[in-house]
Subunit: 149 residues, 2 copies
DNA sequence: TGTGGATTTGCAACAGAGTTGCATTTACTA
DNA sequence: TAGTAAATGCAACTCTGTTGCAAATCCACA
């Protein structure tokens, strides 16, 4: 299990990688998409819109609305996924490695940090009410992270 | 497994029950608390602030801020718990039956309705990163409810 | 039963995350 | 390279929830 492991590649390589990922799908390449996806590829934690905005401020000027739309687009196209925790703020994370593979999240009750627990197996069959159909299972372990213990 | 099973008791009895519950803990009785808790006791689904407001409109006039504060108080005191789903809106549910007992939630991807799956057993031990401590496990099954299938 | 004082309530104003409309700019196709 | 559909920037907006403060209410105690 690995947490928050920054890629060893320089960010430039990730920008190339992001560009390739988008081009491969036949979608339009824009600076917003490249920079945002590259940033998310470099980060294994799920990060907020605000955090992304702060981090991209240096290399590329961005309107916040544009960033919202880029994130929504990346989510729609399956490049990233998003989740919401107790502070009711969207958090985004690249889908690389595990396209559509379910995994659990850990949420720190004190600092509200969210990390992904990749080796979760969604092997549990749930008995649902009649007529209900399960599509995905989201599991969040809440507690205290190492810094907050 | 039961879903959204309205109590067979008339609402008046639930108001008495709510009052007893609060009095038993030595807390102050107010109309807001009684009506809100009674309403939540009658409902097994997790409901939003807005839904509660609508439903209480007839019997008791309420300021929305007061309702927010009542809900926060009920949550703090352990009479209800709250959860947030993909629409980033708090949902509240009475804790009766299962004080502090973990259970899963089902969230409909189309109508965003949330129901509680009571017979979930949080028997899964998770391998957490070093220094991390688990306090509770939240499990959400996402899919389509009977009406939306 | 009446009263003092801490709690709760109502109102207004605010805060933060996210959305919408629209004119301008950009990426890509032909 | 030009035309066009898509993406961007800006301003204004919505929606959920919060804060400050004066007025009303609850309840312990006399």
């Amino acid at each position: 299990m690995q947490l928050c492991c920054k890629s060893t590649n320089p960010l430039v390589n990730l920008q190339k990688k992001a560009e390739e990922m988008i081009r491969y799908r036949g979608e339009r390449i824009t600076p917003g998409r490249i920079h945002t996806l590259a940033m998310l590829l470099s980060e294994r934690r799920a990060v907020t819109h605000h955090e992304i905005e702060e981090r991209l401020k240096g290399e590329h000027r961005f309107d916040r609305v544009t960033l919202y739309r880029v994130l929504e687009w990346l989510n729609e196209k399956g490049f990233v996924h998003r989740l919401v925790n107790a502070d009711r703020v969207w958090r985004f994370r690249a889908n690389i490695h595990e396209y559509s593979q379910p995994h659990a999240h850990f949420e720190c009750l004190r600092c509200t940090k969210v990390v992904c627990l990749d080796d979760f197996e969604a092997a549990h069959d749930f008995e649902l009410p009649a007529g209900y159909r399960s599509r995905e299972i989201e599991l969040t372990v809440k507690g205290l992270c190492a810094e907050c213990t």
